[in-house]
């Protein structure tokens, strides 16, 4: 036996020490910790008892080194100003952990940082890389795919055109159609669309869908504007600027926002910068149903993505199951409140 069997060699117990106590071989010890392993009930019990006594737990680094399965997934986030990120992170980490995977959180500080962020992920042998950023473009996705070891690249809650990518998101066209139908039905006739970063075409789904549907019905293409990040503060400034000097007749009767982060800033601007009322003077719609949206301050009419179901689909994919439905066509629901 090569290794000493004394505990505390370097602070942590190894399988060898447990094996000595339990009177079995090291391999039996490790097997005891794998649910699918071929091991007798009796020796598993003895191992487990010895392990408990010594405070042994298998080392996941060593395990993944050999087995090429790390049970680690990287989650790359580029946009911490959007409260919806917190919701998604909570769901993802919870569901991934239930499925046996840990989460490596990588802060993608800016666009140029993307490849460095992906590098640290690949160096950790993650089983998959999940992008829940929103401001990155398709070229980031391409970089990610170029990185040698990135096994699976999953774009979460946003559509990606790249065919080598798995994109788990809801059907933006259907969702926006639902919202647009609702708006038209309510009689709004002069909307303004407030969009996020216009870096890539994938972002334009909601906007284009809305503008197309509207001009198909009314013949004229509504006005639109955008901000460089999904940040309420920026939305506030943009709305103040854009609508600031207008006379009553020139104002839109509705702001259709690409998501709630923008909608919240827009509402603040309407009230506190323009001095108008929501929804009486200008109505507002959002997307995501962040916790704030249900606050009596905002009572935002918005669209809720099935984040839990989406995260569960993600876990299923990591487990190797074939996706059951179309992963980029999840259906959410319109949440009607008082803002529109």
């Amino acid at each position: 036996m090569a290794r000493s069997t004394e505990p505390g060699d370097r602070g942590n117990v190894t399988a060898d020490e447990v094996a000595a106590v339990a009177g079995v071989s090291r391999w039996t010890v490790n097997r005891a910790f794998r649910p699918d392993a071929s091991i007798s009930k009796r020796s598993r019990e003895r191992v487990m008892q010895a392990a408990q006594q010594l405070g042994y737990v298998p080392d996941l680094m060593a395990s993944s080194l050999r087995s090429d399965r790390s049970n680690l997934v990287a989650v790359l986030v580029d946009d911490f100003a959007n409260p919806h990120k917190l919701v998604m992170m909570e769901r993802l980490t919870r569901i991934l952990r239930k499925a046996g995977s840990d989460t490596l959180l990588v802060n993608m500080v800016d666009e140029s940082d993307a490849s460095a962020a992906l590098l640290s992920a690949s160096q950790r042998r993650v089983d998959a890389t999940i992008l829940i950023g929103s401001e990155f473009g398709e070229e980031v996705v391409a970089t990610a795919l170029g990185a040698q070891r990135a096994r699976k690249l999953i774009v979460f809650a946003r559509y990606s055109e790249n065919p080598n990518t798995i994109s788990i998101c809801c059907d933006d066209v259907a969702a926006m159609t639902t919202i647009t139908d609702f708006i038209m039905d309510r009689g709004y006739r002069n909307p303004l669309f407030l969009a996020g970063p216009q870096t890539v075409s994938a972002h334009l789904h909601r906007k284009e869908t809305f503008l197309d549907l509207w001009s198909a019905k009314f013949g004229s293409r509504p006005e639109s504007t955008w901000v460089r990040a999904y940040d309420p503060q920026l939305a506030y400034e943009r709305v103040s600027e854009t609508l600031g000097g207008r006379s009553r007749g020139e104002l839109p009767d509705l702001l259709v926002c690409e998501n709630d982060a923008l909608a919240v800033g827009a509402i603040d601007a309407i009230r506190f910068s323009l001095g108008l009322r929501v929804p009486e003077d200008i109505a507002v719609t959002g997307f995501d149903d962040v916790p704030q949206a249900s606050s009596p301050n905002y009572r935002l009419t918005t669209y809720r993505q099935p984040v839990t179901a989406m995260a569960e689909a993600l876990a299923a994919i990591l487990a190797g199951n074939e996706p059951s439905g179309d992963l980029s066509r999840f259906e959410g629901e319109l949440v009607v409140r008082e803002s529109a």
Copy 2:
């Protein structure tokens, strides 16, 4: 030579393959990637070029297996309803990555989940475990310390009494004293303190400080109440319930909230449930200065912790530097807005 030198054995390039291309030994290749290694300029260049060509990056799992340094820290979060968590996570991940460490994000689903959460951290050989949860009690800290492999346990943005723990936080007593002085100065005389989970004594610092200062000056101990999580929604409900049926004279003139998450809910309740104005009828103070606090809707008077400096101190500790000042006495600043 044991291994084949063909690329793509299992999808990833190893140092052996780079060594073959560069015409050096495997060890020289690995040395090229360590800044402090003893290696000639010329061979490092050759190695780097070959590595670039093959797309090689060193495997951090294998590295940490041998070297006992993983450059991985676990961040345990138990409280995703509090928007301040997002701020702290952003700062921590950014600063840690700059310092060369990756972040393992662990969602501590509930109190009973704490030891399981700590287990996954220890199994990954993290260099340190950071608790930025708030609802856990001292017994969770004890569990963490009991876990064999947890090398360093750091409690971030909250004080811990446990001597085996490094607690990086601001001086709650000084901070609350600042707030209290401000309040007294402004002439409020009938405050209500709204606290978070009352699980452990560490949480009581702010509350006790406030109550003590107040009764020292005015002789009477102010009223207080609490909710079981730092969640605006719960704060909303509690404030509505507690103040709901009261006549004008029975109402407090100020709500002192343990943090902004509660303050935001409290403001909503004052306005939309009680139908009163902030600050004219009831004023509000918070703690943390979350992004929402500066929204024109809330304009919250609050206290900003120096999160960046605290995160940098954390990184310094991980790097092995001796802490320069008292880590549990960071100083923040009062942010005076219109809510009080």
